[in-house]
Each structure stands twice: as C-alpha cells, then as structure tokens.
C-alpha cells in the first residue's frame, strides 16, 4: 500500500513538472522543472528495484545533460528564444503533431494489451549495481568493449573536425 501511494506521488510530480516544461514561458524554469521530472523518474526506477538505472538517471540526465542545457542558456541568454505570437506553428506541423500523437497512442494501446509479461514486479536483486556489473563484465563483455570503441570514434571525430591548426586539405 505505501508503495502505491509513493508511485502515484512520484508519477504525478513527474507528469506535472513535465507539463510545466512545455508550458513555461521562461526557458530557465523549463530546464529546472525538467530536473524535477528526471528526479521523480529516478524515484520510480528505485521502486522498480532498478537502483543502478536510478543512479545513472540522476548522474547523467540531471547531473550532466541538464547542466549542459543551463550552461547553453547562460551563454546564449534567454531573450532571443522566448516564444512570440508570430512564431506560431503552421498547419502542416499541427498535422504532424496529431500524427505522432496517434502513433504513440496506438503503440501504448498495443503495449497495454499484451501485458502477459508485465504483471510481475521484477525481482529485488536484478537491478543492483553488483548484478549489473557482473553481467556487463562477463555475459556482455564483448558489447561493453564495442561501446568503448564507439566512444573512441567519438573522440577522434570531435578532435579531428574541430581542430583548426591542420586545416590544410582542400
């Protein structure tokens, strides 16, 4: 019972703050309210016993990505990006939005219809850091190493495309 109350509490906080992100006129408030959304999602993950994902959610999303958003807002200023009445979206975009919404609704309906595997709560030990670490470094070792190679490409790419000094090709 307390689990259910907590679930509705965090879920409603997540929904309300997410709505505030969309409807807020002030970009800084929108970003800060997105932080709240991320935190309440992390709480929901904890309730699913996915402790590791909850931690990563706070570290990566709330910690890194949203701080990056705030930095961009700080550097660019918020004057130019305030929504004005002239910047209304055209009819084509509205149609596109309706299309997306209907696709997602259909998808949700499909997911909720096939609940055969969703009834049980996941076991308590599945989402611990220890178990995930074990699984990454034994069962999914190859995948883990491949990800490190992909990150290496990212580093090479950034250095190469942003490095000005040797811009000697055509």
């Amino acid at each position: 019972m307390p689990e259910t109350i907590l679930f509705y509490l965090f879920a409603s906080v997540a929904l309300i703050s997410a709505l505030y992100v969309i409807f807020s006129k002030e970009p800084t408030y929108a970003v800060l309210s997105l932080v709240v959304t991320m935190f309440s999602l992390a709480a929901l993950y904890v309730m699913l016993h996915a402790y590791f994902i909850a931690m990563i959610q706070i570290l990566i999303y709330a910690g890194a990505i949203l701080v990056l958003f705030l930095f961009i807002l700080m550097l660019l200023g918020t004057e130019g990006i305030l929504p004005s009445d002239q910047a209304r979206l055209g009819r084509g975009w509205c149609f596109f939005g309706v299309l997306l919404v209907s696709i997602f609704t259909a998808e949700l309906a499909m997911v909720f219809q096939s609940t055969q595997n969703l009834k049980d709560w996941p076991s308590e030990i599945l989402g611990t850091v220890e178990n995930i670490g074990r699984s990454i470094f034994s069962e999914h070792l190859l995948a883990f190493e491949l990800i490190s190679l992909i990150l290496l490409i990212g580093i090479i790419g950034v250095v190469n495309l942003a490095h000005k000094k040797e811009a000697d090709n055509a």
């Binding site: 499909m110 096939s114 069962e139 190859l142 995948a143 990212g154 790419g157 190469n160 000697d168 090709n169």
Partner: protein, 477 residues
C-alpha cells in the same frame, strides 16, 4: 580459444588502430605515402591470417561471437575491399598529410565494425557493430571539412543514420520484451512459435523496425533518400566504402538475421519484401537516367540502389540457391564498384576531390587507355553483359527467383536490367566516343596499373569460370 581470438581479424584491426596512433605520436617524420603502403600490407597479412582460421566453427565470448565459414568469408571480403579502399585513399595522401592517420584509423575501425557484425550472435552485438560502422562513417563523410558538400553529406548522414539506429534499437527492445532474450538462437524458437499464429504481435513490430534500420544501411526503397547526396558529397574513398563495405555488411547482417534469428519468413513477409525489392529496383534504375550528364558519384548512388534491389530479390528466395546468388552478386558488384571508384579518383590528378562530373570522363580512352579499358570492363559487368562476371550474378539471381515461382518479380528484374543497359552504355559512349574537353594524358603509377589489371582480370575470370567461387560460397551457408 585464445589462439582463435589472437588470429581473428578483429584483434589485428585493433592493433592497426593502436599502431596508427603510436606512429603518429612517435614517428613524426614518417611520410604519408609510407603509412598508406604499410597499412595495405598489414591488411593483406590479416587477410591471410583470417584464412588460416578457415574450418573453425565455434561460439566464443559467452556465445556473443560466432566464428564460422560465413563470418570468415565475409571478413576476408571486407579486408580485401579495405585494401582497395586504402588504395583509393592513397591518392589523397598529399592533401591529407598528417590527417591521414585519423583517416586510416577511422576506416580501420569501420572495417572492424563490419567484421564484428558478421560474427555477431546476439542483437546487442549486432546493433553495436552497426553503430561502430556508422559512427566512423559520420566522421569520414565530413572529412573534407572545408568543402560545403562534404559537410552537407556528413550532416545528412548523421541525421538519417541516427534516426535509423533509433528505429533499430526500438525494434530490438520489442524483440527482447517479447522473447526475453537477445541471443539469436533463443529468439529463433520464439519466432517459430509466433510465426505459426496469423496475428500481428509486438515481435513482428520489432522485426519490422529492425529491418527498417538495416534498410537504411543497404539503401533499400523507402529508406534510400540519403544515398545520392551523401555519395556525392563524401570523400571518394568514403563513398567507395559506403557503396561496398557498408552495403555488403548490411546484407550479411540481413542474412544472419534470417538464417539464425528468425528461421525464415511467412508469405506476408515475402510479399512485403518483394514489394520493397521491386520498388528499389525501379527507383534506382529509373532515377539513374536523369543523372546522365550530372555528377558521376551521384549517378553511381542511383545505380547502387538498383543493385540493392537485385540483392534483395535474391534474399527473398530464402534458400541456398538464393543466398549463393546473393553472395556471388555482392562479390562481383564490389569488384566492379571498386574499379570504378579507383578510376574516378585517378581521372582527377589535382587531388581536390571536387569535380567528378560526367563531362570530366569524356574521351577518357584517349587520355589513358588503362583507365578507359577498366571503366569499360567494370561498367559492362555492372550492366550484366556477358562474358563479364556481372552477367552471371544477375543470371543466378533471376534464376533463383524464377525457380521460386515469383514470375512478376523476375519480370521486373529483367525489365530494369534492360533500363540499366541504356544508362550504362551511355557512360561507355561518353568514355569511348566523345571528344575530351581536356586532351592532356593521364599518368598512372605502376602500382595502380597492376591493381587495375588484377581487378579487370578477376571480373573476366569470374564471369568465365564461376565454379571455384560458387564452391567456396556454397560452403559458407
């Protein structure tokens, strides 16, 4: 197990990447031409090392890595293709100067991704190795960073590539959600249970999304729009990589998925794929005609989409005959395409990699008989004119489709071959009969001449004596 891993192509390729960085840091006086030759030699050695594994059939690294004839054949294929792509890149060694190290290491990493892809035995490794290829290509397509076309190509490839990866990952999440496993073998049993039921399940949705993700890589019909712009704007060696290695890796992944993870398709799937194949054939071959007189690389993008259509036709047969035809076609297509890209690069001695308009190739035979003849052989092979190898590839594909009883698809294939003859012969007329704008003769180095002779001879040899290659391919399936 350790001896298998140490001899596998992947280990060698990682060592090449490390060695390239070490060389850049410690040997500043090394000339870029020497680097280029060294990398080509190492790739040739890796090819031989890979062939010593021939015959091994095992699962490694917690069943994530599959080593068998199919994987070894394709690894050898990618390494050989890599050698020719490095030769194409070697033409730009002076322009690249110090940036050649990163250029080569990114190509090596992309080849590494392709090698992992054909050895993947679960969806996670499959996805990550496709990402390894595309991430390298995002950087490589933008490599001429002062040219606006290259930046445009890189941006377009990034947006489309990221979108297709997201779709694929989304699909994999559905497959994992319904089957509770990412392993190909375990998925297969779930698929056989579910494909007996007529209803549409989340598993089917997942499979459609994964197929769409691969469809981008092989530039099949609804996902082909990126190809012309990216082929045109990317540096020519990168275009060659996209057209040969990236495309064949996509088809290899598709074959692996069908053979290992799904165990075949039912009639609805075949109908859907047949429609995609027919649309790809028509789009590629009809779209190539307006490109005559335009940009050569853009023209090749359309012809490449057409070839993806023939390969899909072979894919649909779902029997040993179809897969044999597919692999044979891929090999022949790769040889002809690499010949053409090497020729394109050598026709422009300025190393700027900017022009490549059709008019630059006018009267090429008079300017350089070797280049003119190589284009002649390669284009005839792509068009499917006997006795070139391309004819036999198309013959095998159409034969496999007809024996499967899909007459309409075979008819569309035959009609598009006739259409393709029109535009391919137009290019040959351009090279042979038209007067050149610039009459200066083109000099080709001895190494490149030897390469052209090898490529041309292999196209003619494979067209006349198909049996050795077909025997080899029969072992891989």
């Amino acid at each position: 197990m350790l001896s298998l891993i140490s001899r596998s192509a992947e280990t060698g390729l990682i060592i090449v990447v490390v060695a390239l960085f070490a060389a850049r840091l410690t040997l500043p006086r090394l000339k870029s031409g020497v680097v280029s030759k060294l990398v080509i030699t190492v790739f040739a050695l890796l090819f031989l090392l890979n062939m010593t594994l021939w015959g091994s059939k095992t699962l490694l690294l917690q069943d994530a890595f599959r080593l068998d004839h199919f994987a070894l054949f394709f690894k050898g294929f990618f390494l050989l293709a890599g050698i020719f792509i490095f030769m194409i890149a070697g033409h730009f060694q002076d322009t690249l100067a110090k940036r050649i190290y990163e250029f080569y290491s990114l190509f090596t990493l992309a080849t590494l991704g392709a090698c992992f892809l054909v050895s993947a035995n679960n969806f996670l490794v499959l996805f990550l190795s496709i990402e390894l290829i595309t991430f390298s290509l995002y950087v490589l397509t933008t490599y001429w960073r002062t040219q606006i076309t290259s930046i445009e190509a890189g941006t377009k490839y990034l947006v489309v590539g990221a979108f297709s990866s997201a779709m694929m990952l989304f699909g994999i999440s559905f497959i994992y959600g319904t089957t509770q496993t990412i392993n190909f073998h375990d998925c297969r049993s779930a698929f056989t249970v579910l494909s007996a039921q007529p209803s549409f399940t989340l598993l089917h949705l997942g499979l459609i999304l994964v197929l769409a993700g691969i469809g981008f890589k092989i530039s099949a019909f609804p996902f082909q729009l990126w190809a012309p712009d990216v082929y045109q704007g990317a540096p020519t060696p990168v275009t060659a990589f996209l057209a040969v290695v990236s495309k064949s890796a996509g088809f290899a992944a598709l074959m692996r998925l069908v053979l290992l993870a799904t165990g075949g398709w039912n009639a609805v799937w075949i109908l859907m794929l047949a429609l995609i194949a027919a649309a790809t054939l028509l789009y590629g071959n009809l779209g190539a005609i307006p490109q005559l007189g335009g940009n050569m690389k853009r023209f090749l993008a359309f012809s490449g989409i057409g070839h993806a259509g023939y390969l899909l036709m072979a894919m649909i047969c779902q029997n040993a005959q179809g897969y044999q035809a597919l692999i044979y076609y891929l090999v022949v297509y790769a040889i002809a395409t690499l010949t053409i890209f090497l020729g394109i690069v050598l026709t422009d001695p300025s190393q700027s990699d900017m022009k490549h308009n059709m008019s630059d190739f006018q009267g090429l035979l008079a300017r350089s008989p070797m280049l003119g003849f190589s284009f002649f052989v390669a284009i005839l092979s792509l068009a499917g004119v006997p006795p070139m190898a391309g004819f036999f590839g198309k013959f095998l594909v159409i034969q496999a489709v007809i024996e499967k009883g899909m007459w309409l698809l075979a008819l569309i294939g035959a009609v598009t071959i006739a259409i393709s003859l029109y535009y391919y012969l137009n290019v040959i007329k351009l090279i042979y009969a038209d007067q050149p704008n610039d009459t200066s003769s083109i000099k080709i180095g001895f190494g490149y001449q030897l390469t052209f002779i090898c490529l041309n001879l292999s196209l003619i040899f494979l067209g006349v004596f198909q049996a050795p290659l077909l025997h080899l391919i029969a072992k891989t399936i």
